[in-house]
Symmetry: C2
Subunit: 353 residues, 2 copies
Amino acid sequence: HKPFKIAVIPGDGIGREVMPEGLRALQAAAARFDIALELTHIDWASCDYYLAHGQMMPADWKAQLQGMDAILFGAVGWPATVPDHISLWGSLLKFRREFDQYINLRPVRLFEGVPCPLAGRQPGEIDFFVVRENTEGEYTNLGGRLFEGTERELVVQESVFTRHGTERVLRYAFELARARARKQLTVATKSNGIAISMPWWDERAAEMAQAYPEVAVDKQHIDILCARFVLQPQRFDVVVASNLFGDILSDLGPACTGTIGLAPSANLNPERSYPSLFEPVHGSAPDIYGKNIANPVAMIWSAALLLDFLGCRPAHDAMLAAIEQVLAHGPRTPDLGGSASTTEMGCAIAELI
Amino acid sequence: HKPFKIAVIPGDGIGREVMPEGLRALQAAAARFDIALELTHIDWASCDYYLAHGQMMPADWKAQLQGMDAILFGAVGWPATVPDHISLWGSLLKFRREFDQYINLRPVRLFEGVPCPLAGRQPGEIDFFVVRENTEGEYTNLGGRLFEGTERELVVQESVFTRHGTERVLRYAFELARARARKQLTVATKSNGIAISMPWWDERAAEMAQAYPEVAVDKQHIDILCARFVLQPQRFDVVVASNLFGDILSDLGPACTGTIGLAPSANLNPERSYPSLFEPVHGSAPDIYGKNIANPVAMIWSAALLLDFLGCRPAHDAMLAAIEQVLAHGPRTPDLGGSASTTEMGCAIAELI
Ligand SMILES: CC(C)[C@H](C(=O)O)[C@@H](O)C(=O)O
Ligand SMILES: CC(C)[C@H](C(=O)O)[C@@H](O)C(=O)O
């Protein structure tokens, strides 16, 4: 095949430390499975670039990335003096929207060797996906302030859900659920409190369920759903949620498996009209940057999801098996109670691939 | 003192089974601490009433309740054929708004004898409060559908935050934090994604923090905050949140202590211009109704919060001590692995008071 074109964007903070390990594993998998890759290294979409150039990305960022098959991304947000609305809305959230990466796919899995904060859970027992809507919903800058600075001040914040945007994420989740063994889909909602958008979201889900009679659908309010992530995580198979609820669930899920630092994410444009983006869920972690102790698993796992998305399932599986084996028996970074460096752990995983 | 006037509304489902135990404990505490109570039993604000009368409450509900010092509430929502927008918006959410119960106070505590889903946590180690804004924010029926029924359909949902509403809940939380030993306040936000209301919420918190130099304030995004409830619950002291975020956190917190069925809540109008309402967090639980096996602790604890709010702190403390003792050593309902009935567990607690 023609080489896959991958844009490599380390970004900020520990993004720069884990990226070399992501690439090491990616290249090991590419060598073993005979996958041709063409990597383009990019230093923008980082706060350092912003501090030097006054913007997060060059004016032609879209043109530069448009021909790529995928983007491997580290982390953004460093130093803290660059405010979120510049660093995040100027890079990550821009990619999601302008490249129409409408699926944010986040696996939740309990591994052997990773201390689980939940009592008595066995590896393998927790294994599900959060499918998060990634372009619309609650994340907007629509609305404003009225009577600003007075006692009467009030703020309106608008959420916008389109039929197009809602149906496609639901469809993706139903398809994923149908392809899995348990065929179970949980739909997050809050229609008993949020009285316009959420009842409508429920209607869309109920309507789509008719096209998937094989899938067992379960609607749960976000409050009790969060509680059940803690109390009965083994019950979940695929969970679909709006942008905000998906954000919450895909931090909470990994926390329940002890793996907030290990969690990967795939920001997908399933039609491949635009490049998809793969990144660790952890951020730039200023507190541990520079010590070469960041856990590289989330980055490597994200690279595995990238290969899976490009059609290389065996390469993904080999990478995940290597992660599993090193977590269980190999060198581990301090967050897992070990004393290995980022590089040591990354090398150990790459060797097994 | 003049007797406190308490409206007693069992509502639906297990609300009717736990209410007698709430009253038994309340009356035991009243007798022991010489508190005069005048109880008014009310059968409306229930779905049965709705099915008989076509509305959840009589037209003069407000007049009937206005003179009360407090409302002790069971649960609402039964049978499922009455939709949420009728049962909830027609009772509970109406009370919160029309009686301006702008604080929803929910204690989170790990008790001896209650199996904790988190590994290795000791009783006493988890002990904090969620202070939830209870009248505005994300819970609105403002917005609507456009291009309904077409491909272009879209839905707008508005959240509304007022300065008045936000400042008073923040002030309550700061005061509560200042009065506690650790003096720590966590402010839930999502200002990196929800771009109008949440940055404004952050500004209000930062502004108010200046008036409370003794309180250590910590701002956390709701996604990572949920993760930390699981990973580091011992860190929290007082957590303040918007209506939606508070709803999520106050189900998640009790789940982390294994006590979703034990959690109480206080819907407060601190100025006492209107009656405040005290209710278990658990709902009407149709699946276990009629078996006399519902755990009465949430109801009894809610009654304790009621007495505390009316100024009877010793009575509250005695009720809580009795709850603690029975949870640790007394008869327990099946949800806690015991075989006691609701009545048996309730009697055991009342006896200790
Ligand atoms: C029933 C529902 C509307 C309510 C809420 O979301 O406020 C409940 O979850 C609660 O927390 O009291
Ligand atoms: C950094 C933030 C804007 C982002 C989000 O909320 O989407 C992050 O939490 C994530 O989950 O990718």
